[in-house]
Structures are given as C-alpha cells and as structure tokens.
C-alpha cells in the first residue's frame, strides 16, 4: 500500500466537509497513510463465503441472515408523539431567524 498523497487527502477532506490547512494536509496524509497501511493486513484474511456483520444483537447469529431478518419488527408505529418545542429545538442554534435555522445563502 502506497502512503497517501496530499491530493487524496484533499479529496477525502472535501467529501467530509473539512477544510484543512496545507500543514494539516501534509501531516494527515502521512499519519493516515500509516494507519491505512496497517489496516491493509485484513486483505490477507480468507473471507470467502463469510457474510458481513453490520450490527450485533443478542439474538443474531454470526454470519446468518440479513440485517433485515434480525431486526424484523423493530419499527415503531408511525404516530405523532410530543417532542421538543419549537423554541427548545432552536435554542442551541448558533443563528436562528424567522423561527428557523439561519444558514448562509446556498441558492442564488
């Protein structure tokens, strides 16, 4: 596994909505490159016919059935219930206006 380069880190940072300084790009490319090289050891493990584990519950048996089977019936009824009040929901917002969350312009 080749270490990560700055272009790769910049691409991933853009996907993650992280704006990195040039110094951060360089340092993180090296640090994450080392971790990626380490986790690449998984490559060598034979996982032929092994089902992935997406979640664990006490009832689920490893590698058998899909997540949908294990979690069947876990939906709650789709009924209105009391939640936070409008004011409570907005109380933590850095900026609120006209009864909503205020954000910079995103449609011209």
């Amino acid at each position: 596994m080749t270490p990560m380069d700055r272009a790769q880190i910049r691409h991933v940072a853009e996907l993650a909505e992280l704006e990195l300084t040039a110094e951060e790009e360089e340092r993180l490319a090296a640090e994450i490159g080392r971790v990626v090289a380490y986790v690449s050891e998984l490559d060598a493990i034979d996982t032929t016919d092994v089902a992935p584990t997406a979640h664990v519950t006490a009832a689920a048996t490893p590698g058998e059935g899909s997540a949908a089977d294990d979690l069947a019936g876990l939906f709650r009824p789709d009924e209105p219930r009391p939640g936070l009040s409008h004011d409570e929901a907005l109380a933590g917002a850095p900026r609120a206006a006209h009864g909503g969350f205020s954000v910079p312009t995103f449609v011209e």
């Binding site: 790769q8 880190i9 991933v12 940072a13 996907l15 993650a16 909505e17 992280l18 704006e19 990195l20 300084t21 951060e24 993180l28 640090e31 994450i32 080392r34 971790v35 990626v36 380490y38 986790v39 690449s40 050891e41 998984l42 490559d43 493990i45 996982t47 092994v50 089902a51 992935p52 584990t53 997406a54 979640h55 664990v56 519950t57 006490a58 048996t61 490893p62 590698g63 876990l74 939906f75 709650r76 936070l84 409570e88 929901a89 109380a91 933590g92 917002a93 850095p94 900026r95 969350f101 954000v103 910079p104 312009t105 995103f106 449609v107 011209e108």
Partner: protein, 489 residues
Amino acid sequence: METVTTIAESVRKGEKRAVEIAESTLARIAERDGSLHAFLAVAKDELIAQARAVDEKRARGEALGPLAGVPIALKDALCMRGVPTTSGSKILEGWRPPYDATVVAKLRAADALIPGKTNLDEFAMGSSTESSAYGPTKNPVDETRTPGGSSGGSAVAVAAGMSPASLGSDTGGSIRQPAAFTGVVGLKPTYGRVSRFGLVAFASSLDQIGPFASDVRGAARVLSVIAGHDPKDMTSLTASVSDYEAACGASVRGLRLGVPEEYFAEGLDPEVATSIRAAIAALEKGGCVVRPVKLPHTRHAVATYYVIATAEASSNLARFDGVRYGLRVEPKTASGTSQGSALRAMYGATRDAGFGPEVKRRILLGTFVLSAGYYDAYYLKAQKVRTLIRRDFEAAFTEVDAIVCPTAPTPPFKLGEKTSDPLSMYLSDVYTLPASLAGLPAISVPCAPTRAGLPVGLQIIARPLEETTALSLAAAVESMGLTGSEGRQ
C-alpha cells in the same frame, strides 16, 4: 471508602442526609480535582437541589429508590438537561441539551445525585483522555500517567473518591481500560442492554453505556437501574433485566473459564501477565475449571475496529455543521462564487476550527474507507472479519462459561507517551476491542498491582446478556484481596 450500596442503605435508613453527601462530594471535588481534572462541569446547584428533593421525599415517608443519595458522575458525552455537554470537543462548547439521556432520567428516578460531567477524549476517540479539547485528566495513582480513556474522567472520579460510581461509554474499551488503569471496577454491558438515547454517538454498532464503581456490587446496582428496553433506542434489547446484585454473591464453583493464548502473546507486559495469571490461579483454587481456548482472529481486531468505528464516526459526526447546535465559524471571505459555496465554506471552516486532530484523523480515515473504490476492500472486508471474530467467541463459549484475560497489555502509560504516534495508541486497545466487535458483556476488575503499585485489571468476558456470570466472577476476584504477593513470592 463508602460504596454505592452502603451510601444508599444509610440514606434510606435515615442515618445520613442526602444533602450532607452532596456537600461532602463537592468538598472532595474541590480538594482533589484541581490537579486531576476529572470534571469538565460541576453541577453544584442541581446536585444540592437533587439532594434536598431526596431528603424531602424521605421526610414525607415515601419509599426511596435504589440509588438514594448516591453520587454518580456522568461522562460528558451524556446529555443532561440544561447542563453543558461538550463531548470533549470545542465544536459543542457551551451547548446545553434540551433533554435528559434515558440513563440520566433513570438515575434521577432512582434518587441518585449527579455531581457533574466528566472529561473524555474528544468524542470518545482515544485511549488516554489526552485528546480532550479541555486538557488531559491525570491518574490519581501517579499523576504523571494517564487514567486511560476515553472515559478517563469517570474512572478518576471513582478512583479518587469523588463519586462512588459514574457512567461511561465503551465503544472499543473506553470503560474497561480506564477502569484497569485506575484500579476501579468498569463494566461494558451487552450491546443493546442499556439505552443510548442521549449519548453523543461515536460508532453506533459498538457504543454501549456502562458503570464504573468502587466495588463490584456497586456496578451491579447501577447496571440494574440503567438496563432495559427503551422505545427511544430501537437497538435496546427487550430481554428482561437479570438480578445483577444477587449474582455478586453467587458461587463460582464449577464455572468453566477459558484462557485465550492470543491474549498472552508478544506485547503483554510481564508484570501484568504475572498479576493476571495469579488472579486466574486464585479463581481455579476457588473451584473454577480453567482451560485454554483459541480466539485466532484476535490479532485482526485492531484493524477491523479502526475501519468500522471510523466509518461509523465519519457518518455520525456529519451532524456537526454549524447549523443546529454548537460552534459556527463564518469565513470572512467566501472562497468561491459557485452555488452553495458560502454554505460549504461555513461547514468547512466550522469543522476545521471545531474538531481536534484525532477526530479529524478518524473522520478522514472513515470517509476514505467508505469512499468509492475503497468500500469493498476496507469497509466490507472489515465487516466480514468482524463475523470471524464473533464466530471465535461463539465457538469458545460452547466450551467455557467465561473468558478471562488482561484488560490492557500494559500498566497505565505516561502522559504524552503515545500522543505523537496514533497507531501505538490504537494498539493499546488490543484486548478490549474483540468483545466490543462481538457485542459481548465484559468487566474489568482490579487484581494485584505491579511492584511500582500501578493498577492492573482482569477482564472477564461473558456470553450475550450473561453480565451475571461476569459479575459473579468479578466479585469472587474482589473478595480474594489480591495484593501481589500471590504471584511472586
């Protein structure tokens, strides 16, 4: 030191007032926490108000709850209505949750007292409490050493006698490892045993809330209060809650214990190995049947965990965007003119300023392993290896009732020792990650310390929902009073 159960009994009998306990708790925090820095916020007024309410309830002749007057500190990733909750990050500085986590509501209903919020690695990402944006917590046994992490503050609150119990969260060892490092009891319940509603999410297929306590019975009582199904967390299990306290007095004679050779391999500190082997020998003397077991995929747990946990974290932490809560940074000049650029520039500037280096590393790694072209090779592959790790335990549990091994490969390490090398920090979780990946209950109980007096924890891993077995064995170890002379005459 007074324990959870002795305090609750003395308050229920009227031998002690809850207000006295609250005041002595505040005095103890004032005395000890200046140098230790276990607390990020002390909820003084709330604590006194809760204590008065407990005393008034008793004066009215009403029955008191099982944690009457017992101080229980909260890891600062748990929401408590109106009390600042940071999750150790600048991005949540000053945020006050508009609701209680389910575990907090349950503690209140049990008449517990909540002295405040404890320090943690930022968003619980770390093994030493050093990645907290608010400075590290120190180990009360030796203040040049870390208390472990990520729930380091909650462990130290108990170890330094500031709170007889506390709550932490454990994603890859964040309760068990700090418990081992500070010489207290720490229990990670089965995945889904405790509701996570109101816990700031890190890795949702792994996160679980659990107690720290000064003794095994105290951990059992706290678990009995917080366990159970919660309609607000659909991953919480509907299975009935066992009698955890009764398990603390149960006989361990005849229980079959598996010792996994993979946990005694290269990298294990020899003094830790001696202490753990002495504890296992003592359990054998106490009537347990000890035999070797194989968990061959153990060595891949670190790689598996750091792919899965970071992938889930990158998704969970997308919610911190400067819009609904926490920090917001508006760049002075918009960096482009295309549609959406001002909004995306705000996201980028907020997240760059609000997240610390370890959180950025994990978000980037998690985004990478989920990104087009890499998903199958890393994320899907890790999910398959996770299945193999679970099968290892399933096979072992057909032969034994519990697995006994070290909680951590070394005694508590020095502050700053591993901060410059993320990978060496990740490797310190090697013994706690497998049980997390398999969703199994596991407890760390103190055994004989090293010659230098540094704490060592024995980890006991049990079958799903068999916290009772782990508690019985932990209580047996506790009652043996292992001091270190057993293993090295």
